[in-house]
């Protein structure tokens, strides 16, 4: 019974997975059909000694913490606000969710246009108000901040949606009982709402974390990793290695290190879920 499903799984997941592992131990040439030359641990040695890759992991770490952190904070805050809203809740939710439906590459293009010093509305406003008088995508700090905010703009709505679903499923009698016992909003939030929605919050965190580590589109379309490698997160480095330098074996090793990171993060969150009795 299970055999067809297992075969399908093998074809879709296991074969590419083992193929990439095989690639990571080879130098791969594309011309005239794919060719492998065994290089042993060379690509893996390069991976841990390459200062450029290390630098990209550091930028990725900053990008990861900033995007996921901001999205979680804003997403939970907005969801709590919306949950308390009585009038126009559906309309507000519809508008809030819109960025999530825009293709990331379009978000990048939109962001680039808005902060361009020649015709960008945001750039014009920030310049006129004296808040940012330099080129936003041309300076290291502001370029990284800009791409982080573009990501946050697009994906905060996803957190809102997930958390709102959790809030909507809370048992009302418990909340009403707490209210009648004199618990104020902050006390209810801390002692009742937070424990009740912690499971969905961790799921939201898991979903965004897995996505953030392999993010590519916005940075590719806005800064291409610059200036001075300030936005060169690891997926940009991976693309560059694979498709510009044609070093597919080394790129496979980088890709597998990203996969390992994702698995570590996922395991961490699943362990937390288990501790809370929300996962088996």
């Amino acid at each position: 019974m299970l055999l067809p499903a297992l075969l399908l799984l093998a074809a879709l997941s296991l074969f590419p997975f083992f193929y990439i592992i095989w690639m990571s131990f080879n130098e791969v040439s594309l011309i005239g059909g794919i060719n492998f030359e065994w290089v042993g641990l060379q690509n893996w040695t390069d991976l841990v000694t390459d200062p450029d890759v290390r630098s990209s992991w550091i930028v990725s770490g900053i990008y990861f913490i900033a995007t996921v952190g901001l999205e979680m904070f804003l997403g939970i805050s907005i969801a709590l606000l919306l949950h308390e809203t009585i009038w126009g809740k559906n309309l507000a939710l519809s508008i809030l969710l819109m960025p999530m439906f825009v293709a990331p590459v379009i978000v990048g293009l939109l962001g680039r246009f808005l902060v361009d010093s020649t015709y960008g509305l945001y750039a014009w406003f920030l310049d006129r108000t004296g808040l940012i008088t330099w080129e936003i995508l041309g300076s290291k700090g502001s370029a990284l901040l800009a791409v982080i905010l573009m990501d946050v703009w697009e994906w905060t709505p996803l957190i809102v949606l997930i958390v709102l679903a959790g809030l909507s499923s809370m048992p009302l009698p418990v909340l009403e009982a707490a209210k009648m016992d004199g618990a104020n909003y902050v006390q209810r939030l801390r002692h009742i709402v937070a424990p009740l929605i912690s499971g969905v919050v961790i799921v939201a965190l898991l979903v965004r974390s897995m996505d953030a580590i392999r993010y590519y589109d916005i940075i590719a379309i806005t800064t291409n990793g610059g200036p001075a490698d300030a936005t060169k997160i690891i997926p940009i480095r991976l693309y560059e290695t694979a498709f510009r330098f044609q070093e597919l074996g080394y790129a496979a090793a980088i890709g597998l290190s990203m996969l390992a990171f994702s698995i570590l993060v996922a395991n961490l969150f699943v362990r937390i879920l288990k501790q809370q009795g929300l996962a088996r």
């Binding site: 011309i31 005239g32 020649t118 041309g138 001075a228 510009r244 044609q246």
Partner: protein
Amino acid sequence: MRISRGLSRRDFLKMSGAGLAGASLLGLAGCGEESSQGSSSGGMWEQYKGMTLNFISENTAPTSAIAANLKPFKDLTGIDVEISQLELGSLVQKVSLDVSSGDPTIHVIYADPYQVMAPFAAALADLNDFNEDDSLPSVPKGLGDFIPTQLAAAGRFDDPDTLYALPYDAPTMIWMYRQDLFDKYGDQMSQDLGFDPTPSEKITWAQYYDIAKWFNDNADEVEYGTGQQAKQYDSLMCDFSNVLWAYGGDYFDNGVQVGKIGAKDPGPARLDEAKAVEAAEFYKKLNEISHPGSTSWDWTALDEAFRAGELAMVPNWHEFAAGVEDSKLGGKVGYERLPTGPARSASMWGGTGLGINGELEDDEQRAAWLFLVWATSPETQLSGLKSNVGGGTPTRQSVYELPEVKKAQHRPSDMPNILTYPAVSKAWEPENIGLRPKVEEWNECDTVIYTELSKMLAGDKSPEQAMKDAKEGFDQANGV
């Protein structure tokens, strides 16, 4: 070299017979004596009727012009052409996957000499085989009609005889400047600066800096005197290379040959030499007084800023002239070769050829050859020049000799790119053309140099350190 020879017996036989049928069908009337010959054999052109060719190209003006005018080719051959226009990086990725797939689908490749031809030369067909095939039309007017430096740079790699691509476009960096502002402030600038600032090949990069700074301080019409395409991207390498060569620096020993024909083993890089460091120091200094947007601008963004009236002058690609003349700056812009340096004036050439995927079946390659001959013919290039979707940059000498093209060098011009011809024609001369290295590992070298330059401009590294690290990166990429 094959291009240097005269009219061969084979060429003569073809021109007097069936080959001329195609040339005539191409509508070469006015382009040469062949047009007087009769057309007796459409068969040579129609032998692959019903086939569909896939042409992958960077999103450039010549391809837009061709995409808008494919009917003549369809009428001539009965072949349909599907054109995909992409950003260059995506094109490189698609070509690399296609040539390795074992089931190639791309027939005609926009073979950027550095990012496609050098790394994938082994996957491209030798076009000499088709050009010398009696059953196929040969290149009208012969290979000698292509501008010689461009035929070598766009068409060959490592081996001076094998021909991988036919020159298709020829964007070249020149000095674009606001003629109206130079007319208005010229005398005042002369007095203040102590030299005649009129753009010419005598102006040095140091004087260019002085002029730009003068505009920053004295002219209200523009925000800044100059801007650069200094985003961490290919554009930064192009922009810097003009200065590097002007100061006498180069990427490798024998840089002219490595740029023109290319090399599989270019040897150690020489970016850490004093002249290269001096060039880097100047480039950093120039960027410090350039529009602050420079470090986030690629070539398109720089051109947009210039057209928006933010800058008095820019090093810009000459094929952008059509857009400039169509903007509010139309008629107000002058074109000149880039400034000179202690060694020479060098203008980065960014041309490309059309190649054929050598992994295809023979018939598919032969059909693709028909498209190459048509797309690079003088008539198609002339048509591209007149196109209202951006215009082209012909690679054939005979096109520039046409009376209507010569007339278009002066305003009012219905071929605005041709207004730049006096500047680019000098830039294409062997001693002036700027050819980046054509090496297999160029994509990696390119990334190394523009990343190091970006770090230098951001203040992370000194010019000396950036050039030293760039040299190490080049040597590592090339296995030195």
